[in-house]
């Protein structure tokens, strides 16, 4: 069990607000229509913390969060998964891209509390337990599809989304469908080449 590994890099706040349970140990409410707030006689107050349960990289988390906390900040500050990056916090750069129920979204514009019962995948959830890289990760290495590396987790998650959505057919398609991920080092041509390689590999598999 990876509790120890996960909690090793966490702030004290995380221990106050989060509990981690083993992957299959605890069934969680996954119906999006079921409210997760604890039954309470008092009407909810704006500053109350909300209980939020999510599966993140195949592991279940029960968090107590400010309603204002974005999914991005929940991942970074409460779960300790800092691979997902904050580049603008306003949905303008794509650095915070994660998969929610398999679809790429911007975690900065999503209140964490709205992700109750969802399945979240971040860049930390891609490589196999044995350390083998996901084909998109390997292709990014092969094609030098980054320089500073800051936008890279978002690019990789977006690329996976792009391939899954069937939008990586031509190079022009890839450019268009990857345009929500800014790369200030401007590795764009290498990113496109990497996605072509990964797409073909995923198709073959």
């Amino acid at each position: 069990m990876s509790d120890a590994k996960i909690s090793s890099g966490l702030s004290r706040r995380m221990f106050m607000t989060a509990s981690v349970s083993a992957a299959a140990a605890m069934p969680l409410a996954t119906s999006p229509t079921r409210a997760a707030q604890p039954a309470s006689a008092k009407p909810a107050q704006p500053r109350d913390l909300s209980a939020v349960s999510m599966r993140i990289n195949k592991q279940s988390y029960n968090l107590a969060l400010d309603n204002r906390t974005s999914l991005l900040d929940a991942l970074r500050d409460h779960v300790g998964l800092t691979g997902t990056k904050k580049g603008c916090d306003h949905g303008q750069c794509g650095a915070c891209t994660v998969l929610v129920d398999g679809k790429r979204v911007l975690s900065c514009l999503s209140f964490a509390v709205m992700n109750q019962g969802r399945e979240i995948t971040t860049v930390e959830g891609l490589a196999s337990a044995g350390g083998e890289l996901h084909p998109v990760q390997q292709a990014f290495v092969d094609h030098d599809a980054f320089q500073c590396g800051y936008c890279t987790p978002g690019q990789i998650m977006s690329a996976i989304g792009c391939i899954n959505e069937g939008r990586a057919g031509s190079e022009d398609d890839i450019r268009e469908y990857m345009s929500g991920n800014l790369c200030r080092c401007a590795a764009y041509p290498n990113i496109v080449a990497a996605i072509v390689q990964a797409r073909d590999e995923i198709r073959r598999a």
Partner: protein
Amino acid sequence: MNQAAPAPRENQGDPVVRIDARLKVTGQASYPADIATANVAYGALATSSIARGRVSALHLQDARAVPGVLDIVTYGDMDKTDTPKFGNTGASSIGPLHDKTIFHDGQIIALVVAETFEAAEEAAMLIRADYDDEQPSASFDSKGTSTEAAAGKNPMLKEDAKAGDFDAAWAAAAVKVDERYSTPTQHHNPIELFSTTAMWQGDQLTIHEPSQNVTGWKMELARQLKLDPANVRIISPYIGGAFGSKGPMTARTAIVAVAARRIGRPVRCVVSRMQAFGAQTYRAETRHRIRIGAGKDGRITAFGHEGWEVTSRPDPYVVGGTSATARMYNYGSVLTHVALVHADRNTPGYMRSPPETPYVYALENAMDEMAVALGMDPVEFRRVNEPVKEPIGGRPFSSRSLIKCYDQASEAFGWSKRDPEAGSMRDGDWLVGMGCATAIYPTAAAPCAARVRLTADGEVRVQCGSHEIGTGVRTVAGQMAAERLGVGMEKVSVEMGDSALPPAPVSGGSISTASVCSAVMMACDAVRAKLFAAAAGKDGPLAGSGNAKLDMADGKIVTETGKSAKLADVFKAMQVGAIEEYAEFAPKGSSPEALNKLYAGQPEFHGGESDKDSVKYAFGAEFVEVRINSRTREIRVPRIVGAFAAGRIMNTRTARSQLMGGMIWGIGQALHEATEIDRRAARYVNRDLQDYLVPVNADIKAVDVILVPEVDHEVNPAGVKGLGELGNVGTAAAVASAVYHATGKRIRDLPIRIEHLIV
């Protein structure tokens, strides 16, 4: 092999995969705001909404009432610290909380510290200031600015370059171009947000902040906080893009440190994208007047370059790119002048690629205009004016491969297929234009220290306080060590980005690879010397090999006659487990204090125009095709080719990526980037990535980088010229020339947008 890994040509190193590639694709590379920090409190800035005046009252009660707020640092709370200094290390002399004077929009007026990010942000937005405001001066042409000559105000520009009798040559010139150009305000906008995390252990202060200059910051922060520099540590192992923005330390760092001391807890402050426009440096807008006089044969006889730059009220920040433009071609006579215009703005700073980007843009656009005026091919025009010696001091170039670059790039581009007549090329509904321009960047190096340790099992650790901003310096430093010590890259680890490591200069001005690799090479050579002495010594495994030349390869020490000894055996003979060497590199011409100044965070730069024996530059040639819709006039760049010669290329993969990124930056500068200023209020308006446009993936199609072989033993021991800045120089002029070629319309003010072409 793929495009990202070009086969090395002469004097070029292997396209080794980045040493930190795996960490970067798995999310394990920890940028400063990622560092897990126990018990951290969150900071949020409140900033001014006026550009000039004084804060008359600050209303903090609403902010203090927000549950979770721990402290608010504001006026008076920094009194026991020294004010920031403007210079090599400090971004500005403005100490925002030392003085209630407001010098610019977005100036820090308070830092809120709270238990959570949400509470800190909420409270910061509740802070209200009353101002005694005054009418600010926004920029050029605003009332109330003051103008002064730039030369001598800043080490960036010691004097205005001049040569010969410009006035006479200009008066006599048969063909003349006399035009004005401008470049807009631009912000670096690295995707990583600016942040500071400060933590104290007793008197010891640790700062996690993305920095291009950890040693300089340590010294400057210690000065401001009146601490022993030994008690200050700046840690910045990965930097999420910098482009100059993380070179100068800003006022925030000390403020966050003070906040952490006050509450007795670590404090992390991540600056919002919007606030960064006022809280950090930027490239100020520039204006240029270029005069080129030439004979009908195309030989330039007179070159005049006047530049105007905006800076803040208190600080004389100077770009001063005339030093390079004055030495670009064989001009005959040269007259230059740079003026600074002080306005109510934050202090600018260097931004990829100072100073050449704005100044060479103006020069190269004018060169294209002159080629048109002469009826000459623009490449031929440059060929005709290729100098043997630089025109200002008459010194030779340490190496200059510009014409080779033009030859190789023009062939790859297919320049010969261009119809020289403007407006003549078309593809369906699209007007086609082709243009070219020269890239130039001074080759400099600075003192640098490095420590290298080799163990008996062949593990190598390189330590150097340089900075991995995405250039690949960690990789090439590792390559240098692997090569010198004869081990595979998988055996090498490289530590950077920590002021506790051997000091390195600021990672700016394209000096890092040359400086760092030279120091690493020296340290490796010292390790080699020890090993060789032991191996060939009388008890060594290669005893009796006499004066045979030794080398290291495949984890062994080898002789030129083919004998070899395993590293482990040499270490055994030496009865040590590891050899560690510390080296200090100082470039040729360094002063006796050069190394002391390195440790003081004030490294001397050598090279470029400053050496006595020669001038040192890297060159390139860029060719651009643009397509402009004949009706709606949007401009697209389907392809761009650049050929660059920059001495020894350590790694063709990282070199190509940097040059490619630079060229794409140039496309952005030509067509997209501009910070808009509300001139009434001297405030930035488009302070985010929604409205400050940088190229997206769809804007960039074919980018072809040619690494032209070049050998230059004179520049530095590693033979390396920097190239991080080079790719970005010239691109915008090439785009402007291509736009002219497509439309017959010369756009002299950047960025070139639809509105310039629509009417």
